[in-house]
């Protein structure tokens, strides 16, 4: 079944390129016995919350006076949810981001925010493809 092959290739690529780590595999194991929409719900929540956090980080960093404590606190939220869903690259970039926060370096933070944003959007677009392929596979197996 082509959708299944595409899904397997996509997943393999996401793990191989460091976008995802073993924590995501653990979620897939946890998913067994849960509702079929469990992974979709996880991905949807992560993407929604992640985008909100990134937008809030941008607003904080573009203020005349940057409250680096608030930036750091928000960053831990993104790092936490990234670690929980297995979004390795986003998590690792957050860890780098903390160092610029601790040094109170606005431009370092802004540059790293761009990297986080790119990593997040890259992951989000692949997650969206994953969800679509999962739905195609699910529909196929329901019919046959």
């Amino acid at each position: 079944m082509e959708a299944k092959m595409q899904l397997n290739t996509l997943m393999a690529n996401m793990f191989a390129t460091g976008l995802l780590d073993d924590q995501f595999r653990q979620l897939q194991i946890l998913h067994e016995g849960s509702s079929p929409d469990f992974i979709t719900e996880i991905i949807t929540l992560f993407c929604m919350e992640g985008e909100g956090i990134i937008n809030d980080l941008a607003k904080l960093l573009n203020k005349p006076f940057v409250d680096f404590n608030k930036v750091d606190t928000l960053l831990y939220r993104l790092q936490g949810s990234s670690a929980t869903v297995g979004a390795q690259r986003v998590k690792d970039t957050c860890i780098q981001f903390h160092k610029f926060c601790q040094d109170n370096t606005r431009y370092g933070c802004l540059d790293t925010l761009d990297v986080v944003r790119n990593d997040f959007y890259d992951l989000r677009s692949k997650f969206q493809i994953m969800v679509q392929l999962e739905q195609q596979v699910w529909t196929f197996y329901r019919k046959h």
Binding site: Q23, Q26, L27, L30, L45, F46, Y76, R77, G80, V85
Partner: protein
Amino acid sequence: MASNAQGSPVKALLVDDTAVDALILSTKLRKFHCETTVAKTGKEALDLFHEGKKFDIVLCDKDMPIMNGLEAVEKIRAMGEIDVKIVGLSADYDATEVFMSAGADAFVPKPMKLDVLSAIIQEVINKKNNTMV
């Protein structure tokens, strides 16, 4: 199965404002048949205790709006809730000391793995069983 000798499920309070983290951890708790309540802020958690709700374990995130996890843990202990096991959670790997100072029993960095959660839940069950003997 996460129940004590008399069969009642372990009552868990999960305090986390990040919806995806709360969903994943509550799913893990369900795997151990825990009866789970979710609070989104430290204040919501505290209100539950003020309402007389009882929990065997509290899993509490650090950074939340309105009332953070550290303040919530301090206030829960100040209410006299000394028996409930409180585990701090955070992506801040250096949060052990602040959580323990606030009155937590343990700190686990996010993400909490299933085997770590299993050991914690078993500890709670053993304590309940020993209390009942």
